[in-house]
């Protein structure tokens, strides 16, 4: 990547500007995920409501990124590394916006779940899974800012841990539901929450792919084994 500045310094300011918006979005999404997880664990409906409200800020930032990128493309006609920067910014803002939506959905389900009896034993696993995804997100954004392909690759590989945690939770929820049908509603909500967190991991992976593309000009090889086997492996449903 170029450390050198553009002859037109306003171009540098434009690129820095859109990337600053991405970092701002990233910060809000990290907070949303950790708040949503805490709200779920503590049955804190007030905090869950706050996560839902704050999603509007993330959505607004995504729109701002899109219009800023459109302006930069129109005015600067970026090429090479500059072009890849604006394209990756656009894609990453989409990933972050979706992650924000999943956090918001956690908030919504938390409000419903807080009115039901707690399902014992699943809280810790969900918390660990959410924490793992949040650390992955932080590292992915660091990799983006540092243009660190190695770190991005490392984060990409970590997504299989998230998938495995989801597989384990899937079985656990099935067990709870079979043990006592009164758990079904709560377990379905918890299952959707786990699935949402698993999807967040996929979006982090996509951000890491953008880092590789931004730095190398090529998308990474699909050298990553998908570990979410719940949709293909019927044995996972046997408890």
């Amino acid at each position: 990547m170029m450390d050198q500045e553009h002859i037109a310094s306003a171009f540098d300011r434009d690129l820095e500007g859109v990337q600053a918006l991405i970092m701002q979005m990233g910060g809000l999404v990290e907070t949303a995920i950790s708040d949503a997880a805490r709200a779920l664990e503590m049955r804190d409906t007030e905090l869950a409501e706050q996560v839902r409200r704050n999603d509007k800020l993330i959505d607004a930032l995504e729109e701002q990124v899109a219009s800023e990128v459109a302006r930069v493309i129109a005015v600067r006609a970026p090429t090479a590394g500059d072009l890849r920067t604006v394209l990756s910014v656009l894609k990453i803002s989409g990933n972050l916006e979706r992650m924000g939506d999943y956090a918001k959905n956690l908030g919504k389900r938390t409000s419903v779940l807080s009115e039901m009896p707690a399902i014992t034993g699943t809280g810790g696993a969900l918390r660990r899974m959410t924490q793992l995804v949040n650390v992955m997100l932080k590292d992915a954004l660091d990799a983006y800012i540092q243009r660190d392909v190695e770190l991005a690759e490392d984060v990409r590989q970590r997504d299989s841990e998230v998938d495995q945690m989801y597989n384990a939770l899937f079985r656990e929820f099935l067990t709870h539901m079979m043990e006592d049908p009164r758990n079904i509603t709560a377990c379905m909500h918890l299952h959707f929450i786990a699935k949402n967190v698993e999807r967040m991991g996929d979006h982090v992976t996509s951000i890491c792919e953008q880092v590789v593309y931004l730095v190398t000009g090529d998308m990474p090889d699909e050298g990553r084994e998908k570990q979410d086997r719940t949709s293909t492996d019927s044995a996972l449903g046997k408890v």
Binding site: M2, Q4, H6, I7, A77, T79, A80, G81, R84
Partner: protein
């Protein structure tokens, strides 16, 4: 289906033919070493763009391809430039005949102070390309059609070429250049004196021309190079720093100097 695939494959193979091959070319203006050991292979029936900052040698190199530098006393060219395998600097090559095969369009439209018809008819006449008036008329019409200006001038062929607008004059000059049935068209910043509409018309024309001609264009407009060419060579300080597919050069160049130039970091 097989036929279509075969045709596509054949076309692709043919487009990889090399029309012009430069090997170890150096150009000196007196003591100034303007082009340094340049190797370049220009594909047949494709548009190749030369880009680079002012004074990098791109126009100098372009002018070597039809020996325009011969007219400059202090200019010395060494190395080989082959047009379809034939050394264009060989003693047996007549520069006037060479320039009929390798036409040129300049930065500023420069129609002769003659009628539109005579501007185009001049080259074919001196090269004896038409046996009679009817043939000459045909060449003029075909050339102006290929230059995408026939419809605009067909009713005033005998009015002065200098009376046309800038964009029309440039297309007239392109028509004049292709009237001698050249194989290669060299264009030295052909749109720099034109407004955006005339520029778009000339770019559209360049895209059509590559079906029949090998086009080499020098341009200061990065976007123009990206739009019209299939191959791009980046010149810097007399060297070809990078040469490759235009798509690759503008999305992911190999050399950091190319990236610096096309992204506006060095002038």
């Amino acid at each position: 289906m097989l036929d279509t695939t075969q045709t596509l494959l054949t076309e692709r193979t043919m487009s990889k033919d090399i029309k012009i091959s430069a090997k170890g070319v150096d150009v000196f203006y007196g003591d100034t070493h303007a082009i340094k050991n340049v190797d370049l292979e220009i594909e047949n029936k494709a548009v190749t763009a030369f880009i680079g900052p002012s004074g990098c040698g791109k126009s100098t190199f372009l002018r070597c391809i039809n020996r325009m530098n011969d007219t400059i006393d202090i200019c010395r060219v060494t190395g080989d430039i082959l047009l379809e395998g034939q050394d264009i600097y060989a003693k047996s090559v007549d520069p006037v005949q060479l320039r009929a095969r390798v036409g040129m369009v300049f930065q500023k439209p420069n129609p002769f102070p003659k009628s539109i018809y005579d501007n185009v008819a001049y080259g074919p006449t001196i090269h004896g390309l038409a046996k009679n008036k009817a043939e000459l008329d045909e060449i003029v019409e075909q050339s102006l059609r290929r230059a995408a200006i026939w419809d605009e001038v067909k009713d005033r062929l005998h009015q002065p070429g200098t009376g046309l607008s800038g964009g029309q004059q440039q297309r007239l000059c392109i028509g004049r250049a292709i009237a001698t049935a050249p194989e290669v068209l060299l264009m030295d910043e052909p749109c720099s004196a034109l407004d955006p509409i005339a520029t778009a018309q000339v770019e559209e024309l360049i895209d059509d021309l590559r079906q029949n001609y090998t086009v080499v264009i020098v341009t200061h407009s990065m976007q123009q190079a990206a739009r019209v060419s299939q191959k791009t060579a980046f010149f810097h300080l007399g060297n070809v720093v990078e040469y490759g597919d235009t798509n690759k050069i503008f999305t992911n160049p190999e050399d950091s100097r190319t990236e610096s130039y096309i992204t506006g970091r060095i002038g």
